[in-house]
Subunit: 365 residues, 2 copies
């Protein structure tokens, strides 16, 4: 992270604020899985003692407001969080604060799934005064994670780092791959009766050599997990989790008496805009990045995917009377050609954040 | 697990059903953290395809009830789950089913904290018909985990295996301990500026040798975690998480229209009963077990702790109008001397489960 490589980097040349975002770490936590480091300090991005991003001057806690005026919240993932903004004051909730004259909090978490967005709110709602509006500015994490998962969890969804978490903690590696030699020595009668993926080589050897009683049945986890083999075709399995999270938002909105609305976050290629020179360079650079995270946005998120995701999310929102908006579409109504709005395919520049806030204020508030 | 050692084991001699419980595995999952293996089959304990324990005849899903009659739920940890029962039909919800003639489901999870008890319900409530009663039969996990934790998470609580999870995923090991030699070579000016616990030795060496710019501040996680040094004195920090979980139960009960009540689960020494000969032997055996899990129940859960936990939980329940009961106290009102009710300090025998169900029916339903 220190040193030369970054000096050659187009991303750091054109958008030097990205260094601060790249330097932030996540902290692993129970249930929410992780959140931003608390009290992180840098030029572009600062967090409070609970890990929430600030919207202006440094303060220790976003919940410490002696006026107890009503608040509104922007929930979401890294785009709502404001990865790409040059300062906390340039993020969407900061702009909404200026436009509306009301208190807005950044309730987004980097890489958050729809479930994490809801859980974050579920943990912190008692520390808020009266809530006026919650705008969920979201949509990409669940689907982009699905495109890079090898297993998907039907009931609970998945989260960023799920592949690593699943491997580390469930330790269900393919025995034939991790121990190819030993695997060939196991009589096939045992293969069907031992849960190889959950046993050490020693345990396997012992069970066979001693002719010891074997587990009567291998523990199949098929009811919990499905193998992802053709995500484009199988992506319908994503919808029940999104549906459940929206159901829970609706419930909390009714109980606590706030307005909730949903904005499908924008993707540069879905706005139909002509790239600005900076966008051209930044996106050509990031498109060369080998990480699957970036490849998903380049290779799979085409207009057909846009139509599918927008249509299905709208349908689920309607089911719970949550007003639905498609930010790519709202943006495409403006003349944006050659304006620099994105720092990469899913993340907004300062100007992009300002425009998104204006469109939210115009259409939703 | 196979073989000789168990034949000498008093636990397996007197309560052979414990073999089945010891053989069950947990599956790690997003947010809920873990749940029981799906479709587990054994003599004593069986689960459905979502990991819920059955209450009687084998079935694939506890949610597959074509009659859609109202249900009631027993939430809780391993005691509510029925660790110790010789069969699914001998657990508390199975007895409640027989006593009331109504449908009861086992909504407990082994080793579940108060937050996991709530989250399990939050995930599955849409799959239930009309809910009549939820009895939370709980109380030991949060406090016993606290007694064995080296760090506690103020906002999110902790869960069983948190120590391992925290170490594996946050990797904040004490650099002075893991790399004593290198640690001595680091100039003290760097020690204050590098987040050693988050760096590899290579990164540390590189930063020093190159005189490279260092992180401006070590990332302190103090706002998230507190070191646990004197759990007996510090245990008040547990209460906000329990309070929040009860607040959420109250909210769901109001929204979905069910009755919710809380039963502090029993501990053999809190009932004041004379041990039966079997209890004598089983508890003498388990008290020799070196695991901290068992030592907490032996060494720390005395009558003063009972008074504290019962008093504080009652106070929190009253705050949310949740009727509160102390099962140890309800039991102590009966003549139970020398009856065999417990298989270890916190877990009930078949007779103990039957009595607990009768007392729930008598006092709560």
């Amino acid at each position: 992270m220190f040193g030369k490589s970054s000096r050659k980097n187009i991303r750091y040349q054109l958008a030097p604020q990205m260094r601060d975002y790249d330097r932030m770490k996540e902290v692993w936590l129970p249930h929410l899985m992780y959140f931003h480091s608390p009290c992180f300090r840098s030029e572009a991005v600062n967090t409070d003692r609970d890990g929430f991003r600030l919207t202006g001057p440094l303060k220790e806690s976003v919940f410490a407001d002696p006026t107890q005026k009503p608040v509104s919240l922007l929930a979401g993932n890294s785009t709502a969080f404001g990865v790409g903004a040059t300062a906390d004051a340039q993020t969407i909730p900061a702009h909404l604060q200026r436009i509306t004259g009301e208190n807005w909090l950044n309730f987004a978490g980097r890489s958050f799934s729809s479930t994490q967005e809801f859980l974050l709110f579920l943990y912190f709602y008692p520390r808020l005064p009266k809530i006026r509006n919650v705008v969920i500015f979201s949509g990409f994490t669940n689907i982009s994670l699905f495109y890079r998962a090898w297993e998907y969890c039907k009931q609970y969804g998945i989260f960023f780092s799920w592949n690593r978490f699943n491997k580390l903690l469930n330790q269900r590696e393919d025995f034939a791959k991790t121990h190819p030699l030993l695997n060939r020595l196991i009589p096939s009668s045992y293969k069907n009766r031992l849960d190889l993926s959950a046993m050490t080589p020693r345990q396997v050897l012992k069970a066979i050599l001693k002719g010891a009683p074997v587990e009567r049945q291998p523990q199949s986890l098929e009811p919990f997990f499905i193998k992802v083999t053709d995500p484009k075709r199988e992506k319908g399995v994503l919808l029940p989790v999104i549906e459940h999270d929206l159901r829970n938002w609706r419930m909390l909105a009714d109980v606590l008496g706030f307005e909730v609305s949903y904005v499908l976050q924008p993707l540069i290629q879905w706005t139909g805009k002509q790239f600005s020179p900076e966008e051209e360079k930044l996106i050509a650079d990031i498109d060369r990045h080998p990480a699957m995270f970036w490849r998903v946005f380049r290779d799979y998120m085409d207009e057909a995917e846009h139509q599918w995701l927008s249509g299905e999310t709208r349908r689920l929102c309607e089911q719970f009377s949550i007003p639905y908006y498609d930010m790519s579409k709202l943006m495409s109504g403006k003349d944006l050609d050659r304006q620099w709005l994105f720092v990469d395919r899913p993340h907004l520049s300062d100007r992009g954040s300002k425009l998104a806030a204006e469109l939210i204020a115009e259409h939703i508030l």
